[in-house]
Structures are given as structure tokens and as C-alpha cells.
């Protein structure tokens, strides 16, 4: 997505602008939301006291009309980043984010929290993390996949869904201009509920494959054998992106890479499958060194291989499509024990630091064929 020029970001012409002026939002004076001075003045005078992004303050103007959405959004993951905060606290060895040292909280607020989403970041402009700018002539509406959702969730989900990783096809659900993110991720899920979700997998109203594919549980022998035991993605997703260590402030210390790893479910209290695909998260023992945490005292309390839902689903993958005469299980049941195999195993732990190996010890599967586990 090419960046917008500064003047393009605030231009209210072209597609969407007529709809905006004809809408309820367009009937308000500019200063009703943006403050400043609306008279015929030089720019500097007209902009005195102006609020460029009125919804940045969650208690701002939006709630005057959208009170129900405000109440839930104020508690939501998109607004608060509860998941990241809780993981940071857990790895630092305190019960709550508020118990972290001030320097850690300031580092999080200045670097991580700049990616939180305000109302406007989803409904009228590009998110501030990609430079902001009006999406469609100031028209308010449902989030656009490219301009809003994958502007933030781009390097992994966006590239997977559109098939932009080298050698990996697009998701079977990807229909350009047809099936956008909101087809599965409804506003009920995105806005959240009054119940605070401590983790992204605790958010209510999220999509499940079975919502549409409820008739396939006994659709073939493989489904009958593995239904409920394996997450759908273990067979039907393609290689996906993982990351190595990150240094907060300077980003990834090493480039991301494509891989595919099946392991034990790290969140059985949130998802029921015994085996799931795992994605390596870009956290290391010294990630927060710049924030005063030379090492995370309880780094090993949380795995660095995380429950993943790659957005590159296909019916036929390197696990479901096999050569003539071979069993469908060949790719899994015959997968090598080394790091090149599809399972997270001891060989993968051996390549990690002792603390990281300890963090992921419960996720590995035994060597050899699954039929012998």
C-alpha cells in the first residue's frame, strides 16, 4: 500500500466524498468534531486548537452518538492491547501490567501502544501506524481490508491471505473485492463486549471454520479420524511467516521466515484441539533491554511458539495432497524428526537458548510416527 502525500491525507474530494457530505456525519460542521476555527482564515489561525483525530481520545466526540460502541470499545483489545500487556507482565514476573516498572510502561506506551486502533483508524482513515490519511473522501463506513485491516495486520495475515509470500498461494477464501476480513470478523467481534478479554483468543464472537463448514466433520475418513484432535489448519494451511527475536524500538533483529510447525496446543483452556499449528513470536530474553529490563526474570513462563491461525487455507496442501499410491498421512506420519519436519520436536528445542527451550518444552511432540506416540 503506497503511502499518501501529506495533502492527499486530508483532501475531501473524489470517491466517497459525496456520500460523506450527504450523510449524517457530513451534516455536522467541521469544528463540531475537529474543533479549531471554521471561519475564512489563514491555515495557522484556522487550525488553532484543532483536533486532527477526534476519536483518538476514547472519551471524545464519537461516544456522544455511538454510546454502545464506546462502552465496549473502551474495554477492547484493539483499544487496550490487553494481550500484549498481560504477556509482558507475565514474562517480567508481576501479576499485572500496572505492576511493571514505570520505564517498562513508558516503553510500551511509546512503542507498542502507538498501534492501538481508535474508531477513526478503522472507519474513516488509515491507521496512524501507517501514516493515517482519509480512506474515501472522509466517508465513514465498514473497515476496508487493505486500507484499514491489513494496514496493521499486514506482514503476516495480509500477505498470507493474498498469497504474497513467495511460493505460497492465496487463501481459498480470498476473492478480491469479494470476501474481505469483515466477512468472517464481524463488528460484534471487533468492537468487543463488556467482558474484558485478556487474550486475543478470549474475544467473544470470533469466527470458527465450522460456522460455514459444519457438514464436513464426517465428510471423509481423515476428518472422521482426526476431527477435534487436530485444528483444521494443521492439514489445510500452507507455510506461514514466523519471526525471530525483536529488539523493541528497532524492530526485528532478524528477518522473518516461512515455516510450518505442528505442536501441542499451548492454550487448551481457550481452544480444544490437541494439536495445532504454531507460529514463532518475535520475543527474546533481552527484547526489552532498552526499557530497563536486561533480562525477563520469568521469560520461560510463556512459550514463544504461539497458537496460530494462518490465513492461507487451501483444500489441497503439502499434507493433504500426496503422490499416487501414498496415504494422506504420509506427510505427517512420515515427517522427519529434525528441524526440517512439520512437528515441533526436541531438535527444534536444541536450537534455542536454554530459557527459550524451557518455555516451549510442553509443546513438542515425541520423535517418530504419531501412530506410536
Amino acid at each position: 500500500m503506497p503511502p499518501l502525500e501529506a495533502w492527499e491525507k486530508v483532501l475531501i474530494t473524489g470517491p466517497g466524498s459525496e456520500e460523506f457530505f450527504a450523510s449524517k456525519h457530513g451534516s455536522f460542521s467541521c469544528t463540531a468534531c475537529h474543533k479549531g476555527r471554521g471561519e475564512d482564515l489563514p491555515k495557522e489561525d484556522a487550525h488553532q486548537g484543532m483536533v486532527a483525530r477526534p476519536s483518538e481520545d476514547p472519551r471524545g466526540i464519537c461516544k456522544d452518538c455511538h454510546l454502545a460502541e464506546y462502552i465496549v470499545h473502551e474495554r477492547s483489545l484493539h483499544m487496550n492491547l490487553w494481550g500484549e500487556k498481560n504477556l509482558l507482565a507475565k514474562r517480567y514476573g508481576v501479576d499485572d501490567y500496572a505492576d511493571l516498572p514505570t520505564e517498562m510502561q513508558e516503553g510500551f506506551q511509546s512503542e507498542c501502544a502507538k498501534c492501538h486502533a481508535s474508531c477513526g483508524d478503522c472507519h474513516v482513515t488509515r491507521p496512524v501506524s501507517v501514516g493515517s490519511g482519509l480512506v474515501a473522501g472522509h466517508r465513514f463506513g465498514a473497515p476496508d481490508m487493505t486500507e484499514n485491516c491489513t494496514a496493521c495486520h499486514g506482514s503476516r495475515v495480509g500477505m498470507e491471505y493474498r498469497g504474497e509470500n513467495e511460493g505460497v498461494g492465496a487463501d481459498v477464501h480470498y476473492v478480491p473485492q469479494g470476501m474481505q476480513c469483515i466477512a468472517c470478523h464481524t463488528k460484534q467481534e471487533m468492537h468487543g463486549t463488556v467482558t474484558v478479554a485478556d487474550h486475543r483468543l478470549d474475544v467473544r464472537n470470533g469466527p470458527k471454520c465450522e460456522d460455514c463448514h459444519d457438514a464436513v466433520a464426517a465428510g471423509n475418513d481423515y476428518h472422521t479420524e482426526h476431527w477435534g484432535e487436530l485444528a483444521c489448519q494443521t492439514c489445510h494451511s500452507q507455510d506461514y511467516k514466523s519471526c525471530n527475536s525483536c529488539h523493541a524500538g528497532s524492530g526485528l533483529a532478524e528477518p522473518s521466515y516461512l515455516s510450518f510447525k505442528i505442536g501441542r496446543n499451548p492454550v487448551p483452556e481457550k481452544r480444544s484441539a490437541e494439536f495445532v499449528v504454531l507460529r514463532h513470536a518475535p520475543v527474546a530474553e533481552d527484547t526489552y533491554r532498552e526499557w530497563g529490563a536486561a533480562d525477563l526474570p520469568t521469560f520461560a513462563s510463556e512459550p514463544t511458539w504461539k497458537y496460530a491461525a494462518p490465513h492461507n487455507i487451501k483444500r489441497w496442501t503439502s499434507r493433504t495432497k500426496v503422490e499416487e499410491g501414498e496415504s494422506c498421512g504420509t506427510a505427517c506420519h512420515g515427517s522427519p524428526d529434525g528441524p526440517e519436519g512439520v512437528f515441533l520436536r526436541q531438535a527444534d528445542l536444541d536450537a534455542m537458548t536454554p530459557a527459550e527451550a524451557e518455555a516451549n518444552r510442553d509443546l513438542i511432540v515425541p520423535n517418530g510416527s504419531p501412530v506410536n506416540w
Partner: protein, 73 residues
Amino acid sequence: MRDRRFFSLAMFLLAGIGLLGMGLLSGCGDDDSPGQPAAKLTGTCEGCHQDAERLLATMDPDSGEPPGDTGEG
């Protein structure tokens, strides 16, 4: 007779030079002229934000860091 014609011509030229000088000193009457310093341009919210040329004339260069790789998601 010749003196009066010479006087009229001189007055006409002087008036012309004077008007030209006043014009140069006071500038163009159109506030939106591209020749104006940007700070002098005025307009209402809609007047500026629906006019790409006027926005361009008053916009400071975008000096911020270009958006990088979106790490999450």
C-alpha cells in the same frame, strides 16, 4: 497649445507610473493567487480541504518517518 498638450502627456505618464508603482507595492488583489506566501492564503475548512492545489500550496513537507513494515498480525 503645445505646452498644454505636453503637460497632459506628462501627467498621463506620471499617473500611469504611479498606478504601476501602487500595484507593485500592494500586490495582487486575489488572496488565492499562487504567487502569495502560503501563510497569507485564507479559506474555510471546506474551501481548502476540497481544493487540492490550495492544500498543496499550504502543506508543509511530510517530514515524518515513512511507515515501515507492520510488525503485528
